[in-house]
Amino acid sequence: MLSAASLLSLLLAVPADDAGILHALNRLTWGPRPGDVARVRAVGLDRWVEEQLHPDRIEDLAVEARLASLGTAGLSTAELRRSYEVPKDAKREMKQKQAAMGDSPSEEQLRAVKREMYLKLLPRMAGRPQEVIDELQEAKLLRAVYSERQLADVLTDFWMNHFNVYAAKGPDRYLLAEYESQAIRPHALGRFEDLLLATAQSPAMLFYLDNWISAAPGTDLSVLRRGMKKRPDPELPRSLGLNENYAREIMELHTLGVDGGYTQKDVSEVARSFTGWTVRGLRTDGATPEFVFVPFMHARGDKQVLGRTVASGGKDEGERVIRLLATHPSTARFISTKIARRFVSDQPPPALVDRMAATFRETRGEIREVMRTLLRSPEFVAADARGAKTKTPLEFAVSALRATGADLLSAREVAERLDHMGMPLYMTQPPTGYKDTAEAWVSSAGLLARLNFAADLAAGRLMGTLVDPASLGPEAGLKLGSPEFQRR
């Protein structure tokens, strides 16, 4: 039986004594490409790791050239909406037509109305709204396969999953590109508190977890004057009240963890602290949604959060709650456990998590330093850590594309294959995101989908993907589909 390392050695022609480098590549990148091991050996493993910890020092022109081929490339949220969103009037007209069809129109009839609307609109649009999600997925795959800033990209994926936002909820598809490029990626190796604050104030998250409509109980917006400077979104319902959705998830999923020591009372109090953190321009055609604090929506009075008093204020209350949560010991432990699970093993060694959590506390949440503690640990390089992780569908597909040196002319087909493997990108609805443990991803259908991907890729049958089957050899499909290649 071949070990994972030796099998990859065969595929990538790697000498066996480079196993340590191979392990690092398997964990800090989306998988080694032909020649990567030699390149890392040439600069030295430590120096290469240091480079990866500072992505801004790495030139990344090749991936930018590939991304430029996408229709949505470089578009701001406002431009995206102008080019791809169905205007509100047209949508309303379509709904009215559908409603006028009587008691029980067939689905064919309903679809015909929609088709008719698109026939009218499409000449003026760059594409259908669905194409925005398609291209988000394609851009993500292109970055994963071709970016030289591999660790930053792996961590961006990690945080995107940690702070999951579902692309198909309302206008979130138009907000996700900016969410990823402005709230997540710049902070992927930065300070956790900055990352948390950026997500908390992002229109994407404010909409996804409903905080934009959360207000002091009994808020009646109809008394507001037009033209107010800090006016709420004109599309907000007139009558508003408290919504606990974000308050619960920021504690359960983003910071403390479900066992991090908060109560239902804390959930309500955090929700009250965040009232008034809302978004303007969310429902206006072509507008750029932006975070605003609307004092009129804010619940007044002191709040008790995790045994501390958050004194009555305004926007700063939410900021104080963010600081409290970001620097809480439960957060240090929860985040460290999750990072170790991604980079070391499904059940990360507790001693390692302890040391990472200590670094987190001492540096006030410097993610780069937490990563350093992990990367320098004996647990990370231990022999039993090698090949200990089962790849998620995304990790599997991208690592196969990298191992074969594939030229992705279009990533559409790859994205669809991931759908079949149960991992549609940006499309997981619950705020928990995707699981990062083997048992979540090992299943009969999932396995067959991987084998099909492996065989099709190696034979040059994957649409939009160029490989050279002759140079890969007749066994490449079997190797990519092997149990060993499912591990990293």
Binding site: E107, I213, N243, L253, H420, Q429, S444, A459, G481, P483
Partner: protein, 413 residues
């Protein structure tokens, strides 16, 4: 175990050239599972609002707590109001397709059902409801899988346990083999030759990681069986119209597997989108859209299976209910108890089972939610015992003091 290669070495090649693998030959024997019963579990992920699904319209607390999203009191056959069930409860009008099943006694309801654990986390509550051990996170397997472990079946087919999901749900995790397949049509090794398929099979039979080895076995055994059967080619019975979308597709495929006698004993399907924190709606709205899908999918399934429903029970589950009071956004937040539908031939239908705790302020769980009066494990115990014939429930529900006296009584004894 005889490997396929060894078999081929002993002269089995002729059979293979007819497209029949040796193990599938053995399965040409009667294929229905040994008891002939099937349990279908349908998980509504996101916490369904039980109070607007089966509406306690005669409870005085209901309307007061939901000024903008209450479903109106039944008015004859009006479709913009609750559909009366028993003078106290009414169905959401979007569930109209279920009303005939209620009337003919094949649909039962358990109200105020849920988990005793206080968590309002979707993730934990789903995990607990699928592991069958509320409050205990270390449980490795799911209760549905343990139902199979409790009654080992040497004649079992690879489809004894099947989930219509791309990955295996927590409820079916465990020692007993279970197949996950999002789509029967996609379940196969597309362009690969039989020879390549065999090499993959051998590689996975020798895999070091037990999870990969097990999934490989489940996948290839199921593929073998599908070489001689074509459930995906079966059309729905006349009049059975499944709604478009993932739920309709899942239930249609479960029906195909049952009709093709693939030996399905437990099947699992799921449907998300019940987390209505905002704009939940009343007669129309987000919840109504979901319920219309649910009701028409269940009704189509029932119609499609016809007399076979005598041996089938479908049960719905959801991780918790939602707040009695609507929130500030015409939605509801995370609550406690919800409602379960149980459909099938053996069901004591046409009635709402379980004790109604009431919506008066003093009756609410933590002052805000519908209280749980039926532990979901009591329903699990009844389904496992009366329908699947599991004798020793302590394996299915460890650390739970079960008793037939506490069964909700939704199945005929």
């Amino acid at each position: 175990m005889t490997t396929r290669r060894a078999f081929l070495g002993r002269g089995g090649l002729a059979l293979v050239s007819f497209g029949l693998a040796p193990r599938s030959l053995a399965r040409l024997a009667p294929l229905a599972n040994s008891r002939g019963k099937t349990l279908v579990v349908l998980f509504q992920r996101g916490a369904c609002d039980g109070l607007n699904t089966v509406i306690p319209y005669a409870d005085r607390g209901y309307r007061a707590a939901r000024p903008s999203i209450a479903i109106p009191v039944p008015r004859g056959n009006a479709r913009d109001a609750a559909l009366d069930l028993d003078g106290f409860f009414g169905l959401h009008p979007a569930l109209l397709p279920l009303l005939p099943l209620w009337k003919d006694g094949s649909l039962g309801i358990v109200h105020a059902i849920g988990s005793p654990d206080p968590t309002r986390s979707h993730f934990d509550a789903q995990d607990f409801m699928e592991s069958g051990t509320p409050g205990i996170k270390s449980t490795q397997d799911g209760w549905l899988n343990r139902c199979l472990q409790a009654r080992p079946d040497p004649e079992a087919t690879p489809f004894r346990a099947v989930s219509l999901t791309p990955t295996l749900p927590r409820a079916l995790a465990g020692r007993a083999p279970a197949v996950a397949l999002a789509s029967l049509r996609d379940f196969g090794l597309g362009a690969s030759s039989l020879a390549v398929s065999r090499r993959f099979e051998d590689m996975y039979a020798a895999a070091e990681a037990p999870g990969l080895r097990g999934s490989g076995r489940e996948a290839f055994d199921a593929l073998d069986m599908l070489r001689t059967a074509d459930p995906a080619g079966l059309r729905p019975a006349t009049g059975a119209v499944y709604p478009r979308g993932p739920l309709g597709e899942s239930l249609q495929q479960i029906a195909q597997l049952i009709k093709a006698q693939m030996g399905v004993e437990v099947a699992f399907a799921e449907i998300g989108g019940w987390d209505h924190h905002a704009a939940e709606g009343a007669v129309d709205g987000q919840l109504a859209i979901r319920l219309r899908d649910l009701g028409s999918a269940l009704a189509a399934f029932h119609r499609d299976l016809g007399s076979r429903m005598q041996d089938v029970v479908v049960a719905t589950m959801t991780e918790f209910g939602r707040t009695v009071r609507e929130n500030g956004n015409r939605g509801t937040d995370h609550g406690h108890a919800s409602v379960a539908f149980v459909l099938g031939g053996a069901v004591r239908g046409g009635r709402v089972h379980g004790r109604w705790p009431g919506l008066a302020a003093g009756e609410l769980y933590e002052g805000r939610d519908l209280a749980v009066t039926t532990d979901f494990r009591d329903l699990v115990a009844e389904l496992a015992s009366r329908h699947l014939g599991v004798a020793d429930l302590s394996l299915v529900l460890p650390r739970f003091d079960w008793s037939p006296e506490r069964f909700p009584g939704v199945l005929r004894a």
